[in-house]
Amino acid sequence: MNENKESASDLQPRGRWSPYLVGALLGILSWLVFAVVNTPLGISTPISSAASLCAAPIMGGEAISANAYWTKFPFKWDYHMLFLVGTFLGSLASVLASRNFQLETVPATWAERFGGSKAVRLPAAFLGGTIIMFGARMAGGCTSGHGISGSLQLALSSWVFFLTLFGFGVIAAFFLFRGGSSKT
């Protein structure tokens, strides 16, 4: 299983930059957004506002406008929503520039443990996405809003978030990937 590629961390695919450089640039981007628009980096708020659009056909417009959460965070093309769009476009531009766009349905690390079945991976990704966003909204932010923006401001909430998330992630990874590559 230690063939050569998949889990070897030192292998830098095309277009990868040093994590220290990327971290420093993200830090500098934080200076910019604080100074220029006074809005910290954040991603999960616009995703949850966008969810109201998807829920509208099912739940009905009235239920959406009556909902206390979406009254507080309604869908609009505001700074946060455009930042979300920008994140997608920036990654797309970067991946096209480095010419490593590649369709992936079952990633290597997952396949090593659970096999290559899409019927397993896709529901798991959906469930993971559901849990992560429910958690992000309950915590009031995600890896961007709490993890980077909040932690760098020395916010207590954000450090509690960061450390708890990491701890539970390690425990979850232990149980999920225990036993290595037993299935193929």
């Binding site: 961390s9 277009g15 990868r16 930059w17 994590p19 990327v22 971290g23 640039l25 993200l26 830090g27 981007l29 934080s30 200076w31 220029v36 628009v37 980096l41 949850s48 109201s52 998807c54 829920a55 206390a68 455009l82 930042f83 769009v85 920008g86 997608f88 920036g90 990654s91 531009a93 970067s94 991946v95 349905t105 997952w110 990704a125 959906f126 469930l127 993971g128 996405g129 559901t130 849990i131 992560i132 966003m133 429910f134 958690g135 992000a136 915590a139 890896t143 709490h146 980077i148 923006s149 401001q153 020395l154 916010a155 207590l156 509690v160 708890t164 998330l165 539970f168 425990i171 990937f177």
Partner: protein, 189 residues
């Protein structure tokens, strides 16, 4: 021109700022499922290196900007039960999904179809939270609610002290990682 820029101009600046963010996530390798999951398995430390560097570099700059009057802190409230439970779910979800919300969006652009399916899951999770919001606000977010507090206030250690501590931790961790992972990374497993 006075800072901060507000209104319509600020809104459109979100696109270039977002693009820088997305491009950096991709260049850093964190739009890759394997990189994220293997951080939690201690087999790849890219995520930790990026996060710690961003926090120290970003924090020092924002602290100085704040001191000079060019930035305002925006602190999220420390509702410790809500933050703790939410973060625990977030950690579990992150291992299952293999991305966080930001890196998931960046990953969709790189061709990750399971990131796209997980994005639909995120929308579903947001709907579930919106539906449970009144109950959660009433019963969970009020427990151990300390308000918008920062570490310097509650510990008495001043900001420069915290940044000294964080810089020392980061330097120590990076030194250990660079020393350890170079020769025999594969031998660990």
């Amino acid at each position: 021109m006075t800072l901060p820029i507000t209104g319509e101009t600020a809104r459109w600046l979100a696109i270039p700022f977002g693009m820088l963010f997305g491009a950096l996530l991709h260049r850093g390798g964190v739009a890759d499922y394997n990189v994220i999951v293997n951080q939690f398995r201690f087999r790849d430390f890219t995520v930790l290196k990026i996060m710690l560097t961003a926090i120290v570099v970003g924090g020092l700059g924002v602290w100085m900007l704040h001191g000079a009057g060019y930035a305002q802190y925006q602190i999220k409230p420390a509702n410790l039960l809500g933050v703790g439970l939410g973060a625990a779910l977030f950690g579990i979800g992150m291992v299952l999904y293999g991305y966080c919300p930001g890196t998931g969006v960046a990953a969709i652009a790189t061709g990750s179809l399971h990131a796209l399916v997980g994005f639909a899951g995120m929308l579903a999770g947001a709907v579930l939270y919106a539906l449970s919001y009144p109950w959660v606000e009433k019963h969970i977010q009020v427990v151990a609610a300390l308000g918008k507090v920062r570490l310097p206030e509650i510990t008495g250690i001043p900001e420069w002290g915290w940044f000294a501590i964080l810089s020392a931790i980061a330097a120590g961790v990076f030194w250990l990682l660079e020393r350890k992972t170079k020769p025999g990374a594969a031998a660990v497993s």
